[in-house]
């Protein structure tokens, strides 16, 4: 068995690169009171609970790991096909398949606790009480530095309307989770499929969220022109990937402008270091990578390296020097 050669991609032939002092760059961020080694995290549902990608590289290089949304009961999810590729994006309709919070704690969290990586647990539910019960089970567990509340779930008590589409139910969920987890950073995850995302953002923060995660996928559909059938078994699905990046940049910028002190986990089509810098400039504190991991399992690891180099070459030394830095066009 030959050892795998670990060959770094060659640095581009720019002379300043060699002179750049990588050690002068401090990638650390403060995310709602928690210090992370760097801003690169994973988007929920795009990194499972870490062990699959840990086969490729040591996931402890990541700033934090946001796991796939966990519900109170196990869920088997929707029938297939669950995905369809679209121009520069993909549609998915998974239906929150997960082992349920008890089995997740016993198996996946136990594995993660043996890894030196801060964990943010994404939680989902059909009712306010579902969210509350999942949150209660997470209280006091080692390794968990935060909870992300997936508000893009249909509310069965409210005609199946998605929680994050209205301020009141979204706030109610956050208040319930906050009561169970008084000391943990809580991030409300928002959908871009609303008229005014800043109104929902404000309601979620007022209800006790530490910060916000945006954006979730935006609802889409694809039809096979030959058969006339929807490409997804579920008819509609969430669009992700580079196709939605401008929507993500807009949403992060709007919310950061309205609520400049609230920490944001920005995501939506982020793939390259330039994309990372773009969403940080829009106002993100941390950056989550979703669909890009499907095309390249190493992309998150690569982005930590690339971000340090990008900043060093340009003389930036801290993330604060970039966050929210959008200048008026002259």
């Amino acid at each position: 068995m030959t050892d795998v050669r670990r060959v770094e991609a060659p640095p581009p032939p720019v002379s300043e690169e060699d002179a750049a002092d990588l050690s002068a760059v401090d990638l650390r961020i403060d995310l709602g009171g928690v210090t992370l080694a760097n801003p690169i995290t994973t988007a929920s549902g795009c990194f499972a609970s870490g062990s699959e990608i840990d086969r490729f590289f040591d996931i402890s290089v990541l700033g934090a790991l946001v796991v796939k949304s966990i519900t109170l009961e196990p869920r088997e999810g929707l029938p297939t096909p669950r995905m369809a590729e679209t121009p520069s994006g993909m549609l998915n309709a998974i239906g929150l398949q997960n082992p349920g919070v008890d089995r997740w704690i016993a198996k996946d969290l136990a594995w993660l606790q043996g890894k030196d990586v801060p964990v943010i647990v994404s939680i989902a539910g059909k009712s306010v009480d579902d969210f509350r019960q999942v949150a209660a089970k997470l209280r006091g567990r080692a390794g968990i530095v935060g909870v992300e509340v997936n508000l893009s779930c249909p509310n069965v008590e409210h005609r199946g309307l998605v929680f994050a589409c209205a301020a009141d139910p979204a706030g109610e969920v956050i208040r319930a989770v906050r009561r169970e987890l008084p000391d943990l950073p809580i991030f409300g995850k928002l959908t871009p499929d609303v008229t005014d995302i800043t109104a929902i953002a404000r309601a979620v923060v007022d209800a006790g969220a530490t910060g916000l995660s945006l954006i979730n996928t935006t609802l889409g559909m694809a039809i096979d022109p030959e058969t006339g059938r929807p490409r997804l078994a579920n008819t509609y699905g969430g669009l992700s990937g580079p196709a939605i990046r401008p929507i993500a940049i807009r949403a992060v910028h709007q919310v950061h402008t309205a609520l400049p002190d609230v920490p944001l986990i920005g995501m939506g089509g982020i793939r390259t270091v330039e994309d990372v810098v773009e969403i940080v400039r829009a106002g993100a504190t941390a950056v989550a990578i979703g669909t890009a991991t499907f095309a390249d399992p190493f992309v998150t690891q690569q982005l930590v390296t690339d971000l340090r180099r990008w900043m060093a070459v340009r003389g930036f030394s801290r993330m604060d020097e970039l966050r929210g830095k959008v200048f008026p066009r002259v």
């Binding site: 096909p81 994006g89 399992p297």
Partner: protein, 317 residues
């Protein structure tokens, strides 16, 4: 990310232990047309070293707006000799991704992740193995046949396709098997009909103890269900749309039945693509069996030889 890798011929990323997949820049050593299909040979020593039959590679493709890799079963690896360190796969060019691949030539470099998925389990007992392949699904069975023969097991094959042109490499099928039966839907080669029309007779003639199958999903359903009727253990290499291929997105699930009878959606990229045919909950899947299943099913089978059970064959898998 793609450009850095496409420009280099030697880049490999991954962990230096033997059972994990890697991402490698792989030079195309050769590319040839075989009937309706393309065969590509890649220089991929790290993947060749780790690969087993039934596993697949996930290949980055280019093209306007394409984002996701395309999965292909490994059809052969060479670990010794002049072609050492090569990995082959066979594909049918029909869409944007496979169309782009068909336009590559020798010395082009592909960005490949692999080997991925669980391989075909090899029987722990001396049994006679029947390999049933449809279309390009025959290709990975050649890799399996080599391994089974190395274990000293008898290998028979049923090779099916729509037309003669779509029968993959009939010569190789004859070379590596004790017997091979061809079927085509239009009768242009071998017997007219489907693989399941001849399966029962072939299994009887060959004293088959276990069936392996790879091909289109409706064919796989027909084969698996027939094997269950005949009480033949089967191992089925499935194909479901995959976004990541590495176990993180949950798009590629196959409904399977647990021992207590409940249905679980298993990720075919990491818990499969090979599943025990008797465990797949086909009635919960979207695949229908097309055409007549078994002909002459009303003829009584005389004294079938005792069949080994799943537990005897694979242990408590």
């Amino acid at each position: 990310m793609k450009p850095t890798l496409h420009n280099r011929k030697t880049m490999v990323l991954g962990r230096p232990n033997g059972d994990t997949p890697v991402r490698a820049a792989c030079e195309i050593i050769a590319r040839r047309r075989e009937g309706a299909y393309w065969t590509v040979s890649l220089s991929a020593p790290d993947i060749a070293e780790r690969a087993h039959p039934g596993q697949f590679v996930n290949v980055a493709v280019s093209g306007p707006g394409t984002l996701l890799r395309r999965p292909f079963s490994i059809s052969r690896v060479s670990r010794q000799g002049p072609a050492a360190g090569t990995v082959d796969f066979v594909f049918d060019a029909h869409g944007p991704g496979t169309g782009w691949l068909a336009d590559r030539t020798a010395h082009d470099v592909l960005d490949v992740v692999g080997p991925l998925g669980n391989p075909f389990p090899l029987p722990r007992q001396k049994v006679s193995c029947l390999l049933v392949g449809g279309g390009y699904g025959v290709a990975p069975l050649f890799f399996l046949a080599e391994e089974l023969r190395r274990e000293g097991l008898r290998v028979d094959m049923i090779v099916g396709a729509a037309t003669h042109e779509r029968i993959f490499n009939a010569i190789e099928a004859k070379r590596i098997t004790a017997s091979v039966t061809f079927t085509t839907d239009d009768g242009s080669f071998g017997e007219e009909g489907r693989v399941t029309d001849v399966l029962e007779q072939v299994a009887k003639d060959c004293g088959t103890g276990v069936v392996y199958a790879c091909g289109p999903m409706p064919m796989l359903r027909a084969v698996a269900e027939q094997c269950q009727e005949l009480e033949l253990p089967s191992q089925i290499a499935t194909e479901e749309h995959m976004a990541c291929g590495v176990g993180v997105c949950w798009t590629c699930v196959i409904p399977t039945r647990t021992k207590d009878g409940s249905v679980r959606m298993k990720r075919s990229c990491i818990d499969g693509p090979v599943f025990n045919g008797a465990r797949i909950a086909w009635e919960n899947s979207r695949w229908e069996v097309g055409g007549p299943l078994v002909t002459g099913a009303d003829q009584p089978i005389e004294e079938p030889p005792p069949r080994p059970t799943d537990d005897e064959l694979w242990g408590n898998a």
